[in-house]
């Protein structure tokens, strides 16, 4: 795969490969980061960190353990979620004012999160698994995954009790796992 080949060249300090790698991957990763953080400067900062990391640690990427885009996407998602969840902890403990963060409007999207989930499933021939989810769990998982919504944000967004969305998410993930593992996907 092209990205894996670029990574091995980057590990040897190849700047041309690094620039090409950025060109091929940055829009995807920025999309992932911006949807979760909804804050362009913060998303750009995460992206910068991620690529600086790739330059220094491309050699530690292990082909056998994961696809390169899975590896990269996970790095970026984890950093975004760490920041988002840490911010929430600080907001809860330090201030009671949650109106100080300006809302950022994402560029208008051609797909809803639930549609993205299905499109992703199609690309990976696990559409059947996503399709086994009921509408509620499917939407909750899509919003959490693509937009980084917490349980309470999901509850507010979907106008459902907190307990309901929590169990939607939990049972939805269980069902996805069983289905994907049966289909031979998503295993090590």
């Amino acid at each position: 795969m092209r990205v894996a080949a670029l990574l091995s060249r980057i590990a040897m300090g190849d700047q041309v490969a690094f620039a090409e790698f950025y060109e091929v991957t940055s829009s995807h990763l920025y999309g992932v980061a911006l949807r979760i953080l909804k804050d362009p400067p913060a998303a750009e900062e995460i992206l910068q960190e991620a690529y600086v990391n790739v330059w220094h640690h491309a050699g530690s990427y292990e082909v056998a353990k994961s696809q390169p885009m899975t590896w990269l996407t996970s790095i970026v998602r984890n950093r975004c979620l760490d920041q988002l969840r840490r911010r929430e902890v600080e907001t809860v403990t330090l201030t009671s004012d949650d109106d100080d963060a300006p809302e950022y409007d994402l560029p208008s999207e051609s797909m809803t999160p639930a549609e993205m989930l299905l499109a992703g499933a199609e690309a990976r021939s696990v559409r059947d698994c996503v399709d086994t989810l009921d509408a509620g769990p499917k939407q909750a998982i899509a919003l959490a995954f693509y937009q980084g919504l917490s349980h309470s944000e999901l509850a507010a967004h979907l106008h459902e009790p907190l307990g309901t969305v929590k169990s939607w998410v939990r049972r939805g993930l269980e069902r996805l796992k069983n289905c994907l593992d049966r289909a031979g996907m998503g295993r090590e």
Partner: protein, 235 residues
Amino acid sequence: MNLSRPDRVPRLDALAASYVLGTLPGRARARLSRIARTDTVVSQTIRAWEQRLSPLAEAAPPITPSPQVWRLIALRLGLDAVRPSERGPWWSRVGFWRAFALASFVGVIALGVTLMAPQRADQPIVVVLAGQDARPALIATLDRDSRTMTVKTVGGAPVPPDRSLELWMLPEGAAPRSLGVLPSTGVGRVTLPALPDVAFANVPALAVSLEQAGGSRTGAPQGPVLYTGRVEKFY
């Protein structure tokens, strides 16, 4: 709490799933991530969920970041500060020439008096080719009345078996011109298109790139430039 104990596995799996999905609240998230650093069962459970869910991320439409992001990355890493989509071949980039000027300056200092003394018409021409660390990798010498240039390996990185070093003249305002493939070690010889006075009239520098075995098939450098050296003006 030992999350890796067999009776804890379903609990661990649920935690890892909500960690990867993103719904795990802040403190629990930080805690699980801390445990994963030392506990391989925990980190593998997380990785398995990443494998399951991250393909779904690929369907989300991409959003292009501002050009500033690449500029800052390049700046932080000390790379050639050209946006990837705008980049041309390496020899036509301003950043390359700026880096080259600096590297050859440092190279001259490193070599001390050898090059500080003005080259005279009766002395051989010496071009020192060095990498970014300014350590000499190859030394090219030739007599002024000869078209044969001798290139000796004195350092540099080992050449992979499936690659070749190729030597280029870098004429001002024109594309590089190949002088041929060099041996990976030892001494190589290349033939100039003309006597040095003519051949180097418009050539301020030489460069060595890493190419596929046997050299570039296109007549232009394809691989990364490894070493550069300034052709001192002596006329």
